[in-house]
C-alpha cells in the first residue's frame, strides 16, 4: 500500500475582484498521485501548474481564499484530514522550503534553531538536543558541524543553508519529506551535491520524498517516478524512464522537447502557447487550447488511461499512435 495517495484533489481560490465580482481561480483541477515507501516522486510543472500548492495542501497550509473543493488525501492508510495533518506536520510530514536563506530565523544561531525544532514536539534536554543537532548536521554532510552550530544564518552560503534546512526537516525522522524546489537558485555544482545528500538520506532511512521542481534534469537524475502537472491537473504519472522514453501526454512531450538538450537534437519545436488562465480554463481537457492534437473529443474531460500498472495518462489519445 502506498504511503501517500492523493486522489483527484481540487483546490479553488475564491475571491472578489475590484469590481466586486466573485472570481474563482481553479488552481488544482484533479491532482492524483501516489508516493510509495522509500521512493522519490517528482512533481513537475510550470509556474501556476499547482506544484507548490499541492505541497501546501499536504501540509494543511492552505488558507482562504484557497479551498479544497474535492478530492481526498490518504497518508499511512488513514485519511489526512485537518486533525491528522496537524498531528503529522513537522513530525511525520516535513517540508524543505524553497528559499533557504529566508527560511531560517536570522536572529537565532543555527544550533539554537535545531534545538528549538526538537523541543517543539518532544521533551529533550538541551545537551541531548545539541548532540542530536551535531549528528544531524554531520548527516547532511556539513564539513564542520560544530562551527555550523554556532553560525548565524547570514554567515551560511546558500548550499549550507539548504543543508541546515534538510537537517531540520530530518529531526523527527519523518516518513515523507516535501521538498519544494530545494535547489532553485543554487549553483550547479552545489545543486547536485545537495540533491545527492537528500537522496542518500531518503534511501538510508527508508523515507519518501515528494520533490517539487520545474527542472527536468533534476527529475531525470533524482526521481523514481514523476507526476506532470498542467493547470492543476496531473496529466501524466509514470516511472522516470518511462516518462522520458514512452511519453504519452502531448504536454509532457512539449515539455521534454523544450529542453535545450532536446532542441539540440531535434531543433526548435513550434512555439508553445501562453500559461493557462486559471480563471478561464477551457471545458474538457485543460490542455485543449495548447494541444496540437486537439479534436472535438477534447471538449469532454478525458478519463485516466492506464498504459501500464504504473503509467497513467489523462488524454483521449493515450495509447493510440500519436
Amino acid at each position: 500500500m502506498p504511503l501517500l495517495t492523493i486522489d483527484n484533489l481540487h483546490v479553488h481560490f475564491i475571491a472578489r475582484d475590484l469590481g466586486d465580482r466573485v472570481r474563482t481561480a481553479r488552481a488544482l483541477n484533479g491532482v492524483s498521485l501516489t508516493v510509495d515507501e522509500g521512493e522519490i516522486v517528482g512533481l513537475v510543472g510550470e509556474t501556476g501548474a499547482g506544484k507548490s500548492l499541492t505541497g501546501l495542501a499536504l501540509l494543511g497550509l492552505l488558507r482562504p481564499p484557497a479551498h479544497i473543493v474535492a478530492g481526498t488525501i490518504t497518508f499511512e492508510g488513514a485519511p489526512l484530514d485537518a486533525a491528522a495533518i496537524s498531528a503529522a506536520r513537522g513530525k511525520r510530514i516535513t517540508l524543505i522550503p524553497q528559499s533557504p536563506l529566508t527560511s531560517l530565523d536570522p536572529l537565532c544561531r543555527v544550533g539554537d534553531q535545531l534545538v528549538r525544532v526538537q523541543r517543539e514536539h518532544a521533551n529533550v534536554s538541551r545537551r541531548a538536543a545539541i548532540e542530536r543537532a551535531r549528528a544531524l548536521l554531520a548527516e547532511v554532510r556539513i564539513p564542520d558541524p560544530d562551527r555550523c552550530l554556532r553560525a548565524w544564518p547570514h554567515e551560511l552560503s546558500g548550499g549550507m543553508a539548504q543543508r541546515v534546512l534538510i537537517a531540520m526537516a530530518l529531526v523527527h525522522r519523518p516518513r515523507l519529506i516535501i521538498a519544494d524546489e530545494p535547489t532553485t537558485g543554487l549553483d550547479v555544482t552545489v545543486q547536485a551535491d545537495v540533491l545527492d545528500t537528500l537522496r542518500n538520506l531518503v534511501r538510508v532511512h527508508r523515507m519518501s520524498a515528494l520533490l517539487v521542481t520545474h527542472d527536468l534534469g533534476v527529475v531525470a537524475q533524482y526521481c523514481d517516478r514523476v507526476a506532470v502537472l498542467f493547470a492543476g491537473t496531473s496529466v501524466e504519472c509514470a516511472p522516470t524512464a518511462t516518462l522520458f522514453e514512452a511519453t504519452a501526454h502531448p504536454y509532457t512531450r512539449t515539455l521534454i522537447a523544450s529542453t535545450p538538450h532536446a532542441i539540440r537534437r531535434q531543433g526548435y519545436a513550434a512555439a508553445s502557447g501562453t500559461p493557462p488562465d486559471l480563471y478561464a480554463l477551457p471545458l474538457g481537457c485543460v490542455y485543449r487550447e495548447r494541444c496540437d492534437q486537439a479534436t472535438e473529443r477534447c471538449a469532454a474531460a478525458p478519463t485516466t488511461t492506464a498504459l501500464s500498472p504504473t503509467h497513467a495518462v489523462q488524454c483521449h489519445f493515450a495509447g493510440a499512435t500519436p
Binding site: L18, D20, R21, G273, Y279
Partner: protein, 295 residues
C-alpha cells in the same frame, strides 16, 4: 472563451460595484473619502446649506445655547455657530488645496532632482530638512507669518513652502530606490538622456508615493493653519475659520458656553482625520504589488 492570453478586463464594472470593491480592499480609504467628500460638498454648497450668513450678528441672541433656532448655538457676537462651522470648511479647503499644490510644485521637482542628481541639491535639501526637524515648525510658521502679515495668502504660502521639503524627502527616497531599479538601468542602456530618465521613467513612478502622502500633508496644513489662527497670527477673527473660532470660544468654555469652541474643534478633527485616512488608504490602494496580484 477565446485564447487571448491577456487577463481579460472585459466590460468595465459599474461605478457602484467598483467603489464597493475599493471599499473592500481598503475600508480606510473608503471612510476617509466619505469624510473628505462630504466636507468638500459642504464647502461647495455652503451658501445653500448654511441657515444664516456666517458673519451676521444677532445682537439679541449672543451666546445662545444650541436650540431650535440656532442648532449649534451662537457665539459671543451673536453669530450662528453652525453657519460658521459650515463656512469654515471653505477656509480649510481654501488653505489645504493651494498649499498642497505648492507642495507638489515645489517638493516633487526638488525631490526628483535631489534623488537623481545627488550632489549639491541633495546636500542642501537634506540640511534644510535637518533644520526643519530641529526647529518647531509652528514657531517658524508663526514668526514668518507674523513678519509678512497675517492674511490668508501668506498663511497658504508659508504652510505650503514649509511642508514642501517634507514631500521632497518622500519623493527623494522613492527616486533613490527607483534609480537602482532594473527598468531605469534598461532605460539608460537603451540610450535615454538623463532628463528623459527623470521625467519619463522616474517621475511617474515616484509620483505614486507622493500622491498617497499628499492628503496627509494637507491634513498637516489644515492643522497648522488652524493653530496659527488660534494663536492669532493666522486668519483673523470675524472670518469663519475654525482655529479663529476655537480661539474665540476658548474664553467661554470656563464660563460654561462650551458650544462655541467645541463644534469648530470637532469639524477640525473630522477634517484632519478624514485626510489622514484618505492618505493611508491611498497608499494601500496604490501599492503596485497589491495592484498586480489582484486576488
Amino acid at each position: 472563451m477565446s485564447t487571448s492570453s491577456l487577463t481579460a478586463t472585459a466590460a468595465a464594472p459599474g461605478i457602484v460595484a467598483r467603489s464597493r470593491g475599493i471599499a473592500r480592499r481598503s475600508p480606510t480609504f473608503a471612510v476617509g473619502a466619505l469624510i473628505v467628500g462630504t466636507m468638500l460638498l459642504v464647502a461647495l454648497l455652503a451658501e445653500v446649506i448654511a441657515p444664516y450668513s456666517p458673519t451676521e450678528a444677532f445682537s439679541s441672541n449672543v451666546l445662545n445655547a444650541p436650540g431650535a433656532r440656532f442648532l449649534l448655538g451662537t457665539d459671543g457676537n451673536g453669530m450662528d455657530v453652525l453657519s460658521r462651522v459650515i463656512h469654515g470648511t471653505r477656509y480649510a479647503f481654501g488653505i489645504a488645496l493651494p498649499a498642497g499644490l505648492i507642495m507638489l510644485l515645489v517638493g516633487v521637482p526638488l525631490g526628483v532632482l535631489a534623488g537623481y542628481k545627488g550632489g549639491i541639491v541633495d546636500e542642501v535639501l537634506l540640511r534644510v530638512l535637518d533644520v526643519l526637524r530641529a526647529f518647531p515648525t509652528i514657531i517658524l510658521a508663526l514668526a514668518v507669518v507674523a513678519a509678512m502679515g497675517p492674511n490668508l495668502f501668506n498663511v497658504i504660502l508659508v504652510v505650503g513652502l514649509l511642508d514642501s521639503p517634507i514631500l521632497a524627502r518622500i519623493v527623494r527616497a522613492e527616486v533613490l530606490a527607483l534609480r537602482e531599479a532594473t527598468f531605469v538601468r534598461a532605460a539608460i542602456a537603451v540610450g535615454n538622456p538623463p532628463w528623459r530618465i527623470m521625467v519619463r521613467h522616474i517621475l511617474p513612478n515616484a509620483l505614486l508615493g507622493a500622491t498617497a502622502q499628499l492628503p496627509v500633508r494637507m491634513a498637516w496644513a489644515v492643522r497648522i493653519s488652524a493653530t496659527l489662527a488660534f494663536i492669532g497670527v493666522g486668519v483673523q477673527a470675524p472670518a469663519p475659520e475654525w482655529g479663529a473660532m476655537i480661539r474665540q470660544g476658548a474664553e467661554y468654555v470656563i464660563s460654561g458656553e462650551w458650544w462655541v469652541a467645541t463644534f469648530p474643534g470637532l469639524a477640525l478633527i473630522g477634517m484632519v482625520l478624514g485626510l489622514n485616512l484618505l492618505g493611508d488608504g491611498l497608499s494601500d490602494l496604490l501599492d503596485p504589488r497589491r495592484l498586480a496580484s489582484g486576488r
